[in-house]
């Protein structure tokens, strides 16, 4: 695939937000998510010739980002746990409309509790509605394994997110209403 400036601009416009959200869901912090996103598009600029058709660019970006994230985790001795307060500070208080059960902070908190092997497929599933076959290709994992991880991860999320609400889990919008 050849990549002139106009095409690159179009691709960035179309995908940068979703790629960033994927990065943020994995990394849990804005700076690392920013770096991962920027690096993925930088690799696209360098290696566009490897992609055979434009329709595959989005999958390529997500795959590249995931590999970069895994590389970073391997280089660190431990993948750091992200403090709950850090996530809450970085999300707007008005994310949840009154009456909605889930807000972004709660969801990201719950996702962050999951092992990476569950978190990545679930984020791809919910964020971009990739099919389980696409997720298997992005993460380089057999489809059957992805189905298991989606099922088990979702079960855990549902348990955590649909428990009876405590004061800490009431969306801010409801408290302020």
């Amino acid at each position: 695939m050849t990549l002139d400036d106009a095409t690159f601009d179009e691709i960035v416009n179309a995908h940068y937000a979703a790629v960033y959200r994927f990065a943020y869901s994995l990394a849990g912090q804005e700076e690392e998510a920013w770096d991962l996103t920027q690096e993925s598009f930088a690799q696209l600029a360098r290696k566009a010739a490897q992609i055979q058709e434009r329709a595959r660019v989005k999958t390529w970006l997500f795959t590249t980002l995931y590999r970069a994230f895994v590389d970073r985790c391997r280089r660190r001795s431990r993948h750091p746990e992200v403090a709950v307060t850090l996530l809450e500070e970085q999300l707007p208080a008005e994310t949840a409309a009154p009456g909605e059960r889930l807000d972004a902070a709660e969801v990201l908190r719950a996702l962050n509790r999951l092992p990476d092997v569950f978190r990545a497929p679930l984020v791809l599933f919910y964020l971009e509605e990739h099919s389980y076959l696409e997720i298997a290709a992005i993460l380089n994992v057999p489809p059957g394994t992805i189905m298991s991880r989606l099922s088990r991860g979702r079960k855990l999320l549902r348990e955590w997110l649909t428990e009876a609400p405590t004061n800490a889990s009431i969306p801010m919008a409801q408290i302020l209403a």
Binding site: V12, R21, W34, T37, A104, Y126, M147, L161
Partner: protein, 263 residues
């Protein structure tokens, strides 16, 4: 349990939240079977509601301002033919890399100076010379201390930066020490700061009068070779912060839509 049901349940567990899979034959068959069991159908509907809420929440995660521009700018700066420096190296190679980096920093210093024309009296030229003076070489601190008050007192005693306090965005960082940098006839305070692996220089000059100074309390970003810099002015003081990526600067110095640049 009916083995088909087990297989269909497993498949429907992987069904996408907004119906993209529903017409595909394996999913359509599984949905037909589920529709014949009211309890199962109710369970699927509840799952669909939960999935929809979760998808909406994730899709609402805000994307930081400036990211798109940074991606586009990086392509302009790097071009398609540059490859990133590999970072996954053994300790033995790492020592050699550090030595190479120090040598490169010295060359960078020389290179940046050569890039500035002698008669160019603008702030842009001054900034290049300043950063090259401050960033070149590994032994750059005349006074080493982790106590910010001692560092400020030393600078004041050496005739630069009286009443200097660290900008709020840098207060969480560890101070390493300071020195006085001479650039184009001006004496500039340099404070060396660290935060984990980050290594920053904050330079402050008083009473600069030259063309192209940054606006008051309006940061001006410029990348000088491999060094990210940002400059701003507060009163008669001009600051240059070297070594912090623009997005990290925004995170540290921008609160509730306003720049917090003062000390």
């Amino acid at each position: 349990m009916n083995p088909h049901r087990s297989k269909h349940e497993r498949l429907l567990d992987a069904r996408r939240p907004h119906g993209a899979d529903d017409k595909a034959p394996p999913f359509a068959e599984a949905l037909r079977e589920a529709s014949r069991d009211p309890a199962w159908a109710r369970q699927l509907e509840a799952q669909r509601e939960f999935d929809g809420e979760l998808a909406r929440s994730l899709q609402a995660v805000p994307v930081p301002d400036g990211l798109k521009a940074a991606i586009l700018r990086q392509r302009e700066e790097n071009g398609p033919e540059l490859e990133p420096l590999a970072v996954s190296v053994s300790a033995w190679f790492r020592i050699r890399l550090v030595a190479l980096a120090a040598a490169a920093a010295l060359l960078l210093g020389a290179g940046l100076r050569w890039m500035v024309l002698p008669h160019d009296s603008t702030f842009s030229a001054f900034r290049r010379v300043l950063v090259s003076e401050a960033w070149g070489g590994s032994q750059h601190l005349e006074f080493q201390s982790t106590d910010p008050h001692q560092v400020m007192a030393w600078l004041a005693a050496h005739g630069v930066a009286t009443n200097l306090t660290l900008p709020e965005g840098l207060r969480g960082m560890r101070v390493h020490g300071c020195e006085v940098v001479e650039a184009r006839g001006h004496r500039v305070a340099l404070v060396c700061l660290g935060d984990g692996t980050k290594h920053l220089h904050l330079l402050m000059a008083q009473g600069l009068e030259m063309k192209g100074l940054p606006g008051p309390m309006a940061p001006d970003f410029e990348r000088l070779g491999p060094v990210n810099t940002v400059a701003w002015r507060q009163g008669d003081r001009t600051y240059v912060l070297a070594g912090l990526k623009p997005q990290a600067f925004v995170t540290k110095f921008r609160k509730a839509g306003r720049w917090i640049l003062s000390g």
